[in-house]
């Protein structure tokens, strides 16, 4: 195993161990997502005969807000226990620190989606049995890439600011709008509403391009984020 791979594995393992012990991020994200789903259900689920066309939008609006919560908590151990210097002192490339943090956010998002995707089909889709979960899983994976990369970058920037609780959502949510639009569109396309595979494929491609663009932005800027 190369040193870079060993460092990446150690950083990711550390995040997952901390989460398993404290259960402060993934559990909070799941609870938030479920409560948000229920709020949507109570908000208009009973007033609309067929909420299937809305399901994709509801799912991804919920997941975007959940991502803000999760990303905002992702540097809490380093900030509260003042351990960030330990990571910065080590001979680890800054982009590897980002990659490991993005991987843990990606994993948390997947856990949340395993619970929320079935829930959204039960709550909002008229014929849940017709839902193609494999295609929705691909939407989740491609959307999570962009969410995790951008979120980790912004969280690293915000961790040093006093107004981080305000700054992160204000920066992150608008930047997530393309992900919400494309993910909701792709989900909508395979929920049996339109069954439009060309549209689905277009949105998946868009999500991949979005992730690649922000990966390049993060790679180019991450060194400066932690410089001082």
């Amino acid at each position: 195993m190369t040193l870079g791979a060993r460092q990446f594995r150690a950083l990711l393992l550390k995040d997952l161990r901390l989460e398993l012990r404290t259960r402060q991020t993934a559990i909070a994200m799941i609870l938030f997502a479920v409560v948000a789903m229920m709020a949507f259900q109570f908000g208009f689920g009973f007033r609309v005969d067929d909420t299937t066309p809305l399901a994709g939008g509801i799912l991804w609006a919920t997941l975007a807000l959940t991502a803000v919560l999760g990303v905002g908590r992702s540097f809490v151990p380093e900030r509260e226990q003042r351990v960030l210097d330990g990571l910065l002192l080590a001979p680890v490339s800054r982009s590897l620190l980002l990659a490991a943090r993005a991987a843990s956010v990606f994993a948390y998002m997947l856990v949340v989606e395993v619970i929320t995707v079935p829930l959204v089909t039960v709550f909002f889709v008229q014929d849940p049995a017709a839902t193609d979960f494999a295609l929705i899983a691909l939407v989740c994976v491609t959307a999570n890439l962009g969410i995790a990369i951008l979120g980790s970058l912004l969280a690293a920037m915000a961790v040093f600011t006093r107004a981080r609780e305000l700054l992160l959502p204000v920066l992150f949510l608008p930047a997530l709008l393309p992900v919400i639009i494309a993910s909701a569109g792709a989900t909508h396309a395979v929920l049996g509403v339109s069954d439009d595979m060309p549209e689905y494929n277009g949105y998946i491609l868009f999500l991949l391009v979005y992730a690649v663009i922000f990966a390049l932005v993060a790679y180019a800027t991450y060194d400066y984020v932690f410089d001082d």
Binding site: L3, R6, Q7, R9, A10, L11, L13, K14, R17, L18, R21, T22, P77, Q81, R82, V83, D85, G86, L87, L88, L89, A90, P91, V92, S93, D227, D228
Partner: protein
């Protein structure tokens, strides 16, 4: 080991380092003394690469900052005011993390825990440790990758008598190819370990003393600096 020339670092408009220069050779132990706010911790953080100076030049182990800062990192062991360990991980998990980050054999983890007297608590979360035990773990973290340059900021703070003896032993065992910069308010410790002493005041060197330094001489010079 360290070549620093005209270091300047400001916080807002207040200079914490104001044109400070220093040289540290392998085998040297430089004690930094001075009142609060003199710039001691700032200097240590600049040497560690945690703060970028606003002016001046610095290189560590022949690696000039900021271009070659990454290459200098494995050479440096830094013990500041925070232990830099995760309270919700166990002692061994913390050291395993740092072993992986520095690319050193994992076998050293238990060996170091034994050396600092924490082997029996290796698998307990650090949150359950006393302050002195956390400081011992921080000492193991500091030395795990066998750094050639040690930067210690009041390292005896929080250590009990046994922990203090352990650290004294580590300091006595230095020398050879290693360098040490030690920030302390304790003149006895500075006199015992330092081969050179630099007194800082308002970000500049107020005095320097070479060779084995007597406790009384040092205390007198320090009193001049803070008066």
């Amino acid at each position: 080991m360290i070549e620093a020339d005209g270091l300047v670092r400001r916080f807002a408009s207040r200079p914490a380092l104001d044109g400070l220069s220093l040289t540290l050779r392998a085998g040297d132990c430089l004690a930094l003394i001075g009142p609060n706010g003199a710039g001691k911790t700032t200097l240590l953080r600049v040497i560690a690469g945690l703060l970028r100076p606003d002016g001046g030049a610095i290189s560590v182990g022949g690696h000039r900052y900021p271009e070659a800062r990454q290459a200098a990192r494995p050479l440096i062991g830094y013990l500041g005011h925070d232990p830099l360990v995760y309270l919700d991980l166990t002692a061994s998990q913390n050291l395993e993390l740092y072993a992986d980050l520095y690319g050193v054999p994992s076998g050293r983890v238990l060996a170091w825990l034994e050396r600092v007297g924490l082997l029996a608590r290796a698998y307990d979360p650090v949150r359950t440790f006393s302050r002195g035990m956390v400081q011992r773990l921080a000492l193991a973290r500091l030395l795990l990758h066998e750094p050639r340059l040690l930067l210690l900021d009041e390292p005896f703070s929080g250590l009990d008598a046994a922990g203090g003896e352990l650290l004294e032993g580590v300091l006595r065992g230095l020398g050879g190819e290693r360098g040490l910069v030690l920030v302390t308010h304790d003149m006895a410790i500075a006199a015992r370990h330092a081969t050179r002493v630099m007194g800082l005041r308002r970000g500049v060197a107020a005095f320097e003393m070479e060779g084995p330094v007597g406790h009384a001489d040092l205390a007198a010079r320090y009193a001049e600096v803070i008066s």
